[in-house]
């Protein structure tokens, strides 16, 4: 067995890989949350349920419509994004002028309804979804065995995250989004259709969660509570990174996945709590989060 300074490299790299994969999902989910929060100023509690919806979308698409994994990767986020658009337009918009607490509670309610509905229909034991043929098997690296699908998760998530970051920070469309985040009323006075922008942004933010759900279906069990368990961790990550920072959400998501993975190797007992510990420390030292702007 390969060791270095008494460290089992197989074990260490294995946990690092698990950490990177979890981190990829954290990054996708917190990125969606950050985009939505930036423009709408609401925390979308339904983000986890929508991630679950994405995984079920892949599963149901395959079972009943013959939609394979690769098609699902495109179709499911689109459908989920459309649902998000309807949700913004008909549920969130009517109470947009009230205290943001109301929309937060509303999204929480939507999450509970979705989770309850799927538990009722499919039970809570979880369903399995096969890894697509092209990504079965793996590669033997010097210190570890790298399953192809896991490598794909990391590459695809990072690509989507980076593309989103690039779009927001470097394009004209992104400039609209950034400016709208700062001062929506002035954007409106410049002749930009802010309500439409809000709807599309919400749709895109939840589509990211839908995409994460499809990615997750082959590695985690497809179950109604898969969203609620990951969402708690994602919220902690959003607090650590600082609400509303796009790059911050991605880096913190990935980083916390790695921290979690390393903890699993060095001190497994703490692996479930380490992120919350980091959150407490960050809140004490820099309340606005690592990448957040002080209010």
């Amino acid at each position: 067995m390969a060791t270095f300074l008494g460290i089992n490299l197989f074990g260490l790299f294995g946990q690092l890989l698990v950490g990177l994969i979890n981190g990829s999902f954290y990054a996708l989910l917190s990125l969606g949350l950050a985009i939505i929060f930036g423009l709408l100023k609401i925390i979308n509690f339904a983000q986890g349920a929508i991630y679950m919806l994405g995984a079920f979308g892949a599963y149901l698409g395959l079972q009943y419509l013959g939609i394979g994994y690769w098609a699902a990767l495109i179709v499911v986020p689109l459908v989920v994004g459309l649902l998000g658009i309807l949700m913004e337009r008909f549920l969130i918009r009517p109470i947009a002028n009230e205290d943001h607490l109301y929309s937060l509670l509303l999204t929480f309610g939507v999450a509970l309804v979705l989770q309850g509905l799927f538990t009722h229909m499919f039970g809570s034991s979880g369903l399995s979804y096969a890894i697509p043929d092209a990504l079965k098997g793996g590669t033997k690296l010097p210190f570890m065995y790298l399953p192809s699908y896991r490598a794909w998760i990391i590459i695809a998530s990072l690509t989507v995250c980076f593309a989103t970051w690039w779009m927001i920070e470097k394009t004209k469309l992104g400039a609209y989004l950034r400016a709208g985040t700062e001062n929506a009323a002035l954007m409106q006075a410049f002749g930009i259709n802010v309500p439409l922008m809000v709807t599309l942004t919400f749709g895109f933010g939840v589509a990211l969660a839908g995409f994460a759900g499809v990615m997750a279906a082959p590695v985690y069990s497809v179950s109604p509570d898969m969203g609620s368990s990951i969402l708690i961790v994602v919220f902690a990550i959003v607090v650590i990174g600082g609400m509303g920072s796009i790059g911050g959400a991605i880096i913190t998501g990935l980083g916390m996945g790695i921290v979690e993975g390393l903890t699993k190797y060095f001190y497994p007992e703490a692996s479930n709590t380490v992120i919350f510990l980091v959150m407490v420390i960050v809140l004490l030292i820099k309340p606005a989060g690592l990448f957040g702007k002080e209010a």
Binding site: K172, A179, V194
Partner: protein, 237 residues
């Protein structure tokens, strides 16, 4: 009032509200093409609210606001700018998450014959030199130039400018006066909210004086001398 010029803005019985507070109580005004008109008055008289009401940035508004011949009182806020209006808010509204050039290019063109980017950089060389800096890192004067340049680029030919000289050095205020005169000569229509009467007096055609959400007086440029005493009472200078 100049009746020979085409009317660009006509406001009748405008009331504006923020939640429960009733800010404007029946404003009437008319501005012709190429005119530079100021709104004078003390803080809280309703001058900024008048500009915001025209842009539909208040809670609720009633009455009539006709811009370029189109009634806008029930128009969605994002459509108003496309009638050829550019708004420069009191706090300047430079976006900190955008660099200077992004700020400049942000508002969509509302008419086809806007000032070109080259021309803007010629007019304000500082903006060109600092085009990749964060918008809010500019000095106050440069930010004001940027806020103004930004709406000139869109081709807006009706400008609503709120306190553009506030807190700026005299040399920059002088430069702004020159810019406004040049725009006026181009035929642009300007409605200016201004505290600095010495800046506004030599360049304006007319002045409306506001108090408690009403227009209480209208003074033409040629009447300024005769009405100085009266203006002093209203403005408390």
């Amino acid at each position: 009032m100049s009746t020979t010029r085409p009317e660009k803005i006509r406001i009748n019985d405008l009331h504006a509200f923020y939640g429960e507070s009733h800010i404007l109580h029946g404003i009437d005004m008319s501005i012709g093409q190429g005119e530079l008109v100021t709104l004078l008055g003390r803080n809280g008289a309703g001058r900024s609210t008048t500009l915001k009401a025209i842009m539909s940035m208040v809670g609720r508004r009633t009455g009539s606001i006709v811009i370029n011949g189109t009634e806008t009182i029930n128009m969605p806020a994002h459509k108003i700018a496309h009638l050829g209006i550019g708004f420069c808010p009191e706090e300047r509204g430079i976006f900190s998450s955008l660099n200077v050039e992004e700020n400049l290019m942000l508002p969509p063109a509302v008419r086809s014959d806007g000032v070109s980017v080259e021309e803007i950089y010629e007019m304000f060389p500082n903006l060109y030199e600092r085009r990749f800096s964060q918008g809010t890192r500019l000095s106050g004067g440069e930010q004001q130039m940027l806020a103004l340049a930004r709406i000139l680029r869109t081709g807006a030919n009706i400008l609503l400018l709120d306190e553009i000289t506030e807190g700026l050095a005299p040399v920059i205020v002088q430069k702004l006066a020159e810019v406004l005169m040049a725009l006026k000569e181009r035929g642009l229509t300007i409605l200016l909210v201004e505290q600095n009467f010495r800046f506004a007096a030599p360049i304006a055609d007319r002045h409306y004086v506001m108090e408690h959400g009403h227009i209480v007086e209208q003074v033409h440029a040629h009447e300024l001398k005769a009405k100085t005493e009266l203006l002093n009472t209203y403005l408390g200078v």
